[in-house]
Amino acid sequence: MASLVDMQNVSHAFGKLRSDLILDKINLSINEHEFVGVVGPSGCGKSTLLRIIIGLTKPTDGAVYYRGERVEDICKRMSMVFQTFALFPWLTIFENIELGLQGKPFSKSEKRGRVLKTIEFMGLNGFEEAYPRELARGMKQRVGLARGLIPDPELILMDEPFSSLDALTATHLREEVLDLWLDPSVAPEAVIMVTHNVEEAVYMADKIVIVTSKPGKIAKELEVTLPRPRDPRSNELYKIVDEITGLIA
């Protein structure tokens, strides 16, 4: 499996004198076709980790490589999905999704075609002219996903994507994300998901990275080899959840 992302000795500190160390010498790879879950206590730098991978934040030390090339700016082969959806309230659903194509060399009508196709694909038709405030949370996150998928990213980064949703909606959207990732004809190819929900991570990921806090370091990487589709209530799954929770606590 070729590696998509390589984080090498990445450290990051905040503050004027760079005194607040958030991440300490992180070495992490994301491989092709991989679903990586990142778990750890609140405030351990998990979100910062994602921002550094995609190029939103430049690490104070170390570097990130994407297919061997150093990430200096926002990487165009990646997309991000946020916990609180990050939709622009003054734009319709259509317009919010269209934003995902910003900077792409498509004509207006080509963009329109792609947006409509994505809307249909994500089950959002009927809601094109709606504004985010008119949508239930699950639908809002679906728009966030649509916007993230429309530029055909190789890697999708998700920051607590389901934690603002009720349990039923989260259950449903998790399945949709898994279906998208498993479908080879559709982006994304690989996923990295930050979550504080260990069960969710074990249910979805191939590899789990456990980050401990202050400063954030990788405590352990665990392969989850449970066959898919996984039973969210199986003993094998719970055993792994227990092992991970034990390492975080």
Binding site: E120, F121, M122, G123, N125, G126, F127, E129, A130, Y131, E134, A136, G138, D166, A167, L168, T169, A170, T171, H172, L173, E175, D231, P232, R233
Partner: protein, 143 residues
């Protein structure tokens, strides 16, 4: 609602509603709207506190997003309450009404009428099933 159906499928099609609430760490009250919706559409049956996935529910789950939309369109357009609403809108000029006109037409029909919450429910289901369009900028509902 779809999440509820998926959970039911995980439990092999039949489970005590209290167990679902417990398992998902939800209050029963939070579950009930999904239960009501699924029952209304005949995707589940409720029997002595147990939720049972029906054949229609299983069929719905087995389909992809496009086919689900078609099923929703069929199932929702068959609901008495929706038939009335769709017919009302279609009988107006340009098949168009304002939010106020729609709410006025419903006041007489529905007991315990809560304008805002009923309106958002109607628009949400209308949109999901592609039976209604709502342009909030121009305050027009079209069928």
């Amino acid at each position: 609602m779809i999440g509820l159906l998926e959970v039911l499928e995980d439990f092999k099609g039949r489970v005590d509603v209290a167990k679902v609430a417990d398992d998902l760490i939800l209050e029963l009250d939070d579950l009930l709207p999904a239960v009501d919706a699924a029952e209304l559409l005949s995707y589940i049956k409720v029997d002595s506190g147990d939720l049972i996935l029906t054949e229609t529910g299983r069929e719905f789950l087995s389909k992809g997003p496009k086919a689900r939309k078609k099923l929703l369109n069929k199932n929702i357009s068959n609901l008495e309450s929706f038939k009335k609403i769709i017919n009302f809108v279609r009988n107006q000029e340009n098949c168009e009404v304002s939010k106020e006109e729609l709410l006025d037409s419903l006041k007489g029909e529905v007991t315990d009428f809560d304008a805002e919450s009923d309106f958002s429910w109607i628009i949400e289901w209308g949109r999901h099933s592609l039976l209604l369009k709502y342009d909030s900028d121009n305050d027009t509902i079209r069928a």
